[in-house]
């Protein structure tokens, strides 16, 4: 029975902590009060079933137990003296949807404190909003639990001493917060995705939590195209999780992936979301990236991929985000349309900007190999090995080097 309750608590946690943080003006107090309410719910709901409005029940209970501990805690007596008036005059739970929306956004935005390192922002959101344990987060970031504990404690202190305004934000302020929070969720997914292979399966947890947070944003802001598109994008990427690594933990190149292993239900949902996002008709960076991921997902076979569409989408993305990495992706699409020689030439101007970027050299290596320049290919691939590739990448690169060496043959080598 308690599994069902745990799942309900996880589902209500972001909204509950967010509303309680506004009430108590303190994240720790909110977390304690929510934990206390869940404990009480375990007994109460097991005996008489879940209430019709579980969130309202949890909020009321948490507010009461939070108030009790505020009264008995020295540290928090000051908080009560300062904000006691608000706590007592607070309207009935749960807050109205608009207020709740701003509460959750504020809590997520607090985690995005500008003085915090990006990874600490992500860790903080995982701890406070998603409710992951410090051990889980530590495993996700491949650090010792003790280290993660210290980082989270430090980060929490920082956000406590630099409080965010609790008034209803202006539309501009809301837009800024939403942009920051959306980017943080996107980066949380990438943190998990970039290395979620081989021994680091735990990193998939980061991807799943990022999807849950993206879903939360869409629930709160259903008419925002970019947030809807972000959820679509993450679902489309994550749909390939089972196909992108083989049994030995090696990365499987996109074209070689067994498409039967792609998560069709996730893709179907994502395509529905993307259509909705595109209807909202604000073409931003997430909508474009989701459209690119969708073009891959709907292709039955690798040769069915609409590379012209993808190339056009990257051109549109480059107009919004003129970075050399986006340009490199556009060139990768051009290579499919116009061949490797065209792509190598197009890559030349990027050599300076991307000399430390291992995908630049990996791409060059692949194109040179295709053109039969095995000396050049080996040099490019060996550069990749000096730029900190992950274990599965090293395996893949070494296999390619070996293939080129074989092609050089005994006479030339």
């Amino acid at each position: 029975m308690s599994d069902w309750l745990e799942a309900a608590f996880v589902q209500h946690r972001p909204r509950a902590i967010a509303a309680l943080t506004r009430v108590f003006r303190d994240v720790d107090a909110a977390e304690d009060a929510f934990a206390e309410a869940c404990l009480k719910a375990l007994t109460a709901w097991s005996e008489s079933g879940a209430p019709r409005d579980p969130l309202a029940w949890l909020l009321t209970t948490a507010r009461h137990s939070g108030l009790d501990s505020l009264r008995t805690s020295q540290r928090r007596a000051a908080l009560l003296a300062r904000y006691g008036e608000d706590v007592h005059t607070m309207p009935q739970d749960p807050p109205d949807p608009d207020e709740m929306r701003d509460d959750v956004l504020r809590l997520l935005f607090m985690c995005c404190h500008p003085e915090l390192d990006r990874r600490d922002q992500i860790a903080l959101a995982l701890r406070i909003v998603a409710g992951l344990s410090v051990e889980e987060i530590a495993r996700g970031f491949l650090v010792k639990p003790k280290t993660m504990e210290q980082r989270i404690t430090r980060a929490k202190k920082k956000i406590a001493t630099h409080p965010v305004a609790f008034e209803t934000p202006s539309p501009q302020e809301r837009g800024t917060r939403l942009g920051e929070v959306t980017l943080m969720i996107y980066l949380m997914f990438n943190e998990g995705w970039s290395t979620s292979v081989g021994p680091d399966q735990i990193k998939l947890t980061l991807c799943e939590e990022a999807i849950r947070l993206a879903r939360l944003l869409v629930e709160l802001f259903p008419a925002m195209g970019e947030q809807t598109a972000l959820l679509a994008l993450l679902l489309l990427q994550h749909a390939r999780r089972a196909a992108r690594v083989d049994r030995a933990g090696r990365l499987v190149p996109f074209d070689d992936q067994d498409r039967a292993l792609w998560d069709r239900a996730a893709i179907a949902e994502a395509l529905g979301l993307l259509q909705k996002a595109q209807r909202i008709n604000h073409t931003g960076v997430y909508t474009i990236q989701a459209a690119i991921a969708a073009a891959h997902a709907i292709a039955q076979r690798p040769e069915d991929v609409d590379w012209a569409l993808i190339e056009a989408q990257y051109a549109a993305l480059y107009a919004l985000q003129p970075s050399p990495v986006v340009r490199l992706n556009q060139i990768a699409a051009q290579a499919r349309l116009h061949g490797p020689a065209f792509a190598l030439k197009a890559m030349e101007p990027l050599a300076g900007d991307l000399q430390g970027y291992r995908w630049f050299h990996a791409m060059r290596g692949a194109f040179l190999q295709e053109l039969g320049d095995h000396q050049g290919a080996i040099a490019a691939l060996e550069t990749v090995l000096t730029l900190g590739p992950t274990t599965p990448e090293i395996t893949a690169i070494k296999e390619k080097i070996a293939a080129s060496q074989k092609n050089l043959g005994p006479a030339s080598g």
Partner: protein
């Protein structure tokens, strides 16, 4: 009489369950589908999360067009998640089948429905 077994619940709770619990829930749906298949024709639909929905609101006046609304929607605690429909011999029989998928995360509603046309296959 055709009865619809409609499933209501809080979106996201199923997804938050541990994998083995999810599998238990799904196993009961598969069991129900097998049982329904044995007794005749049936349909079932799973609705995607409400966040993927778009609403068509009535036109504010006769000379205006209906309004397409992407959200926000009223905060409902329980959502329509999906349904089964089959021609059952009796309400009791429909209830027996509904019980097969009863779980703490879902409230089930059994209600007679009238055929209103159309045809569709899953292919």
């Amino acid at each position: 009489m055709i009865y619809a077994i409609s499933i209501y619940g809080e979106p996201g709770v199923f997804e938050a369950l541990p994998k083995e619990r999810q599998d238990q829930v799904l196993a009961r749906h598969i069991e129900l589908q097998e049982a329904l298949k044995k007794r005749g024709a049936f349909i079932s639909m799973k609705l995607m999360p409400p966040t993927s929905a778009v609403m068509v609101e009535p036109a504010p006046s006769a000379e205006r067009v209906p309004l397409i609304v992407d959200g926000p929607f009223s905060e409902t605690k329980e959502n329509f998640l999906g349904f089964y429909a089959a021609d059952f011999d009796s309400l009791d029989e429909a209830l027996d089948y509904a019980k097969m998928i009863s779980s703490p995360i879902a409230r089930l509603e059994v209600r007679p429905v009238a055929w209103a046309g159309g045809a569709m296959s899953s292919e």
